[in-house]
């Protein structure tokens, strides 16, 4: 309820800025006479899917032996198929552009279908071990399936699931399948290198989506995931024996900030600035400045960064 907005709607209507219909609707909403529960319904759908999936996971875990493998695998497959069939029936024709969601539950039912399919695949893998020690490949299969479904049904949530599953595949593969290949480095460094590689791949994917005009609205998901992976991987190596990792994070953070600033991506800009600041501070702390020096460093540098931030904001404001 907002008396100011209700009064403003009346005033703007009298001034002719709003039509009578606009004025009536805006004032009605502002007076609390019409309330939307859209947000609550979406939240309930999302929470419902997560809770139901937790229940399904528990069901399979607790009744693993009793239910019989075929029954579990079939039930999960049928449930996933039912979800995907519903989605297919409701889905508009395929387009490389952004498509309006045909139903409030469309994306959530798709997500449920993909999650159930993933659970089914994991169950089959656990029970029958068709891939044996090469089981991480099923993560790649799941990532591809999720990616295809995300593109077909235009779902950013499922696209992010595909990306994270792909990253998981690389992480697990490095540890379990590619020990020999990465034998020259310790496991942490191998994982870090892989995470950086996957992050760069996501960034390239994001960069390709827009000029090709292929699901260009997925680009922010790929770019955010890519930078988070790159920065997270570099940050995990902070404070190591060599300052190269700190320098890498400093450069990457600065790069993200510059990239985000040019494209007015403020959340990424914040991420980049923070990463660069953390890296710079880690480099400074290498000289062991003590409590007094450290305090002075953080007091002065955070104020300097803050000043720079306000300067940047002032430059952006006229635009």
């Amino acid at each position: 309820m907002s008396p100011e907005v209700a009064a403003a709607a009346e005033r703007l209507g009298e001034q002719g800025l709003l039509s009578p219909a606009q004025r009536a609707l805006f004032a009605r909403v502002a007076r609390g006479e019409l309330v939307s529960v859209y947000r609550e319904l979406r939240l309930a759908l999302y929470a419902g899917i997560l809770v139901a999936m937790a229940g399904v996971g528990l069901l399979v875990k607790e009744n693993f032996a009793r239910l019989g493998p075929l029954a579990v695998a079939t039930a999960l497959a049928l449930a996933a198929a039912a979800c995907l069939a519903w989605v297919q029936r409701r889905s508009p024709a395929f387009s490389w552009r952004e498509a309006a969601s045909p139903h409030l539950a469309f994306e959530y039912v798709l997500l449920l279908g993909v999650l159930l399919a993933g659970a089914d695949l994991a169950y089959v893998e656990a029970r029958f071990a068709p891939l044996g020690p090469a089981w991480p490949w099923h993560l790649l299969a799941m990532a591809i399936v999720a990616g295809v479904l995300a593109v077909r049904y235009d779902s950013r949530i499922v696209f992010s699931l595909a990306l994270s599953t792909f990253a998981a595949w690389r992480g697990v593969s490095v540890v379990l399948l590619e020990k020999a290949f990465w034998s020259g480095s310790d496991p942490a460094s191998s994982l870090r290198a892989n995470a950086v590689g996957v992050g760069v791949a996501f960034l390239l994917l994001g960069a390709a989506l827009v000029p090709l005009d292929r699901k260009a609205h997925f680009e922010p998901v790929a770019v955010h995931a890519g930078w988070i992976l790159v920065l997270g991987a570099l940050a995990s190596g902070l404070g190591g024996r060599s300052p190269a990792g700190d320098l890498g994070l400093l450069l990457a953070g600065g790069g993200v900030a510059a990239f985000a600033f040019r494209r007015a991506r403020f959340s990424l800009f914040v991420l980049g600035v923070l990463a660069a600041y953390v890296a710079l501070s880690a480099l400074f702390l290498r000289i062991d400045p003590g409590f007094t020096g450290g305090s002075l460093w953080f007091a002065l540098t955070s104020l300097a960064v803050l000043g720079g931030l306000l300067g940047v904001h002032r430059r952006l404001r006229p635009a």
């Binding site: 100011e4 907005v5 403003a8 703007l12 606009q22 609390g32 019409l34 309330v35 939307s36 529960v37 859209y38 609550e40 319904l41 759908l45 419902g48 809770v51 139901a52 999936m53 937790a54 528990l58 875990k61 607790e62 009744n63 693993f64 409030l104 539950a105 993909v114 999650l115 993933g118 659970a119 994991a122 893998e125 656990a126 029970r127 993560l139 799941m142 990532a143 950013r156 499922v158 992010s160 699931l161 994270s164 599953t165 792909f166 998981a168 595949w169 697990v172 540890v175 995931a225 992976l229 997270g232 991987a233 403020f266 914040v270 600035v273 007094t292 305090s295 803050l306 931030l309 306000l310």
Partner: protein, 391 residues
């Protein structure tokens, strides 16, 4: 709150509503520009991302500056408390200058100086009382009372709803330390709720003060429910927040009241929310209903957990779809003043949160160790897809 600040806040409310109208394509760019010209904003504001960064950096700078002074001056005993008290007071004065003279609002910096300043004043008071060998019970009472008063004053003067919620929280913690804490929680919440509902709607108050009232109301309603909740009753939750040993309430003759409250309060909140079309009561009613169902599950094992979760999740999905269909089938796609249409809300943030949640913890598939052969679902430690590796 200063009159010019209140006026700026009222204008901000209209500008925010106009942005929502534009987002929903209910008005065009020219109309939006005309509305912005009619309701100009004279405050220095930052967007959510810049604001968060400014808050973090300011809080870091202020704390680091204080620690630097401590490291250089090396004060002992009372001097630490006096220094912290002076620092806190200076920060509160700086907040006043920023919000008043410099006309800053939603900029992160003034919020950081306010929160850090209040925290230092409260911490310093506690330090000084401890140095004066004040009994612990009195010290905690005094600190909670001071926190409630300072935070309430900050909410009123600087228009910060989070301060109002924290003040209400400190107030209820203070009440919990009395011998009849639970009774006081019920009485205080019952007395405050109607007033906060009235003030939360009052056109005399600027929007940010109305939101402060609603934030305090939410805390009061949660305290009211917590005082009645059966689990809280049996485990003497409120009493455990006070000094001394919590009494055994499980065998009390008043226990049926707790059982009734656990059932009736969520239902009453939902009913009032539907009748008055108040989103706060609707949302809280749903949250409290879930809390009551969890409480029920704690006492009555009607079914295995997997069934409860699957049925509960399915019920949430089907219930949402049924409500949506019910509302959509009404005249003008609405019923009793409720609609399932998005109207003018900014949904991009919720969508981004859902995408981020899927990115961070996607439960997709997980391999079971060969020696175990038992199935485990759930997200990976990093990324998704049930990864057991770490990045």
């Amino acid at each position: 709150m200063r009159p010019d600040g209140a006026e700026a806040d009222r204008r901000r409310e209209v500008r925010a509503a106009a942005r929502g109208w534009r987002r929903a394509s209910a008005i065009d760019d020219a109309t939006l520009a005309a509305i912005r010209a009619s309701y100009p904003d004279d405050r220095g504001r930052l967007g959510p991302a810049f604001r968060s960064l400014a808050f973090v950096l300011t809080a870091l700078a202020l704390n680091a500056a204080f620690f630097f002074v401590i490291a250089v001056a090396d004060p002992r005993g009372d001097a630490v408390g006096i220094l912290a008290l002076a620092f806190g007071i200076v920060l509160c004065a700086l907040t006043e200058v920023q919000i008043g003279l410099l006309k800053r609002a939603e900029g992160g910096i003034e919020a950081a100086s306010a929160f850090v300043g209040i925290a230092y004043v409260i911490g310093a008071a506690g330090w000084l009382m401890n140095e004066a060998h004040m009994p612990e019970r009195t010290l905690v009472l005094a600190v909670l009372a001071l926190a409630a008063a300072l935070l309430a004053a900050a909410a009123a003067r600087w228009g910060m709803p989070l301060c109002a919620a924290l003040a209400a929280g400190a107030f209820f913690l203070l009440l919990a330390r009395s011998p009849a804490g639970r009774l006081f929680w019920i009485a205080a919440a019952a007395a405050a709720a109607p007033l906060l509902v009235i003030f939360g709607d009052s056109p005399r108050l600027p929007p940010v003060h109305r939101r402060s009232c609603q934030a305090a109301l939410a805390v009061a309603l949660l305290a009211f429910y917590a005082a009645f909740n059966l689990w809280s009753w049996d485990h003497a939750f409120v009493e455990s927040l006070g000094p001394g040993r919590a009494p055994a309430l499980k065998d009390s003759s008043l226990r049926p009241l707790a059982m009734a409250g656990t059932v009736l309060i969520p239902a009453a909140a939902l009913a009032f929310g539907i009748r008055s079309r108040r989103r706060l009561f609707l949302d809280l009613g749903v949250v409290l209903a879930v809390a009551s169902l969890v409480t029920l599950r704690f006492y009555v094992h009607v079914a295995p957990l997997w069934l409860i979760l699957t049925a509960g999740g399915s019920a949430a999905i089907l219930g949402s779809l049924a409500i949506r269909r019910f509302l959509d089938s009404g005249a003008g796609r609405e019923r009793r003043g409720f609609t399932a249409e998005p109207l003018f809300e900014d949904l991009s943030r919720q969508g981004a949160l859902e995408t981020a949640a899927a990115l961070a913890s996607a439960p997709s598939a997980r391999r079971v160790p060969a020696e175990d052969r038992s199935f485990t679902s759930g997200g990976g430690r990093f990324g998704g897809g049930g990864a057991t590796g770490e990045y």
